[in-house]
Symmetry: C3
Subunit: 139 residues, 3 copies
């Protein structure tokens, strides 16, 4: 049994879903492990991770639209407001999605379904560099 | 240290929670591992996974009811509409729940609490066959 | 490759976020593993887990406020009501957050970001004792 760990930086340009599936596949292939468990983990609390459909880009547009409506800026009861109107909504959107996702690996590939991709979901309006850690264990 | 991986097909008959706890227990028992980590992963983006109460079936009814109200069909701002009125709401409900759940294993059993069961949460109205991957690593 | 498993009891005094980062760090340090994957798992369906900002306590206040507004008590269509007005909302809040979180470990520490902490999110009003299981595998 062996393991590997690495991190990548993902530059973001405002709110929305950024696909990182290719980076995940490269990491898993580089580990040369055939069967195991790969974990993606994002080291921030104002962006998050999602497995979502990679076929129609409209899905990503609508996901962003739903979360913007569910957690709008300007909720007047918020108390954490010093970091900008998009900061506390960003934390809430992160709480509603995932910080960490584990995916089994078989035949040297994560067992993503045909239409599944791994996405970084950026919740802040300004550009950021987001650190994503990949870990794999297996043989 | 050893591992095992397998997948099951779960037939669904419309929206709601389908318990898969027994399949999880059978997989863990079959691995003959005593201590470790088991991961359940669903290879689709219009259904998802949940750990929920397995005592009162009303809990499942109400969960389905809440998500149907939170993410109703017919939101007129959606752009991804070609796959039916329940498709984009299904992706959103999947984003709000989980695609992957890891559960520690002790004494040969996942450490589910007394009232916890593992559920596939189907978000589409039509019947589907859903693929669920189980992976365990331990000794 | 080695592993360790342990559980802690977290006393809660009503709804809100209770930080358990220190317990996680103590568990990982005690395992003496340098690289691996640590999993936190909560054995209940009316509380949950979150990675959230550990800097400004207002973030926790606002998270609690958002979830109370998103899933209010007194939704008159609920059917699971025998365990109190906060019980079914608690299950829904748990479904919207996490029961299990995996975090890679590097240099003997979980790779939490600078501002990230691990929290138990209590959704019931009455005091409870919550069991949290930690598992680590690595070397």
């Amino acid at each position: 049994m062996q393991q590997a760990i690495d991190s990548i930086m993902v530059p973001t340009q405002g709110q929305g879903l950024y696909e990182v599936t290719r980076s995940l596949l490269v990491f898993v292939a580089g580990s040369q492990l055939s069967t195991g468990l790969v974990t993606a983990y994002v080291r921030h609390t104002s962006c998050s991770l999602l497995i979502q459909e990679n076929a129609d880009p409209d899905v990503r547009t609508d996901l962003r639209g739903f979360f913007r409506r569910l957690v709008p800026e300007g909720m007047d009861w918020l108390t954490h407001t010093t970091e900008g109107p998009d900061d506390m909504p960003a934390h809430i959107k992160a709480a509603l999605t995932q910080t960490s996702i584990g995916i089994p690996v078989s035949s040297g590939r994560p067992v993503l379904g045909t239409w599944q991709g791994l996405y970084l979901f950026e919740h802040r309006a300004q550009p950021h560099r987001r650190e994503l850690v990949f870990h794999i264990i297996g043989e």
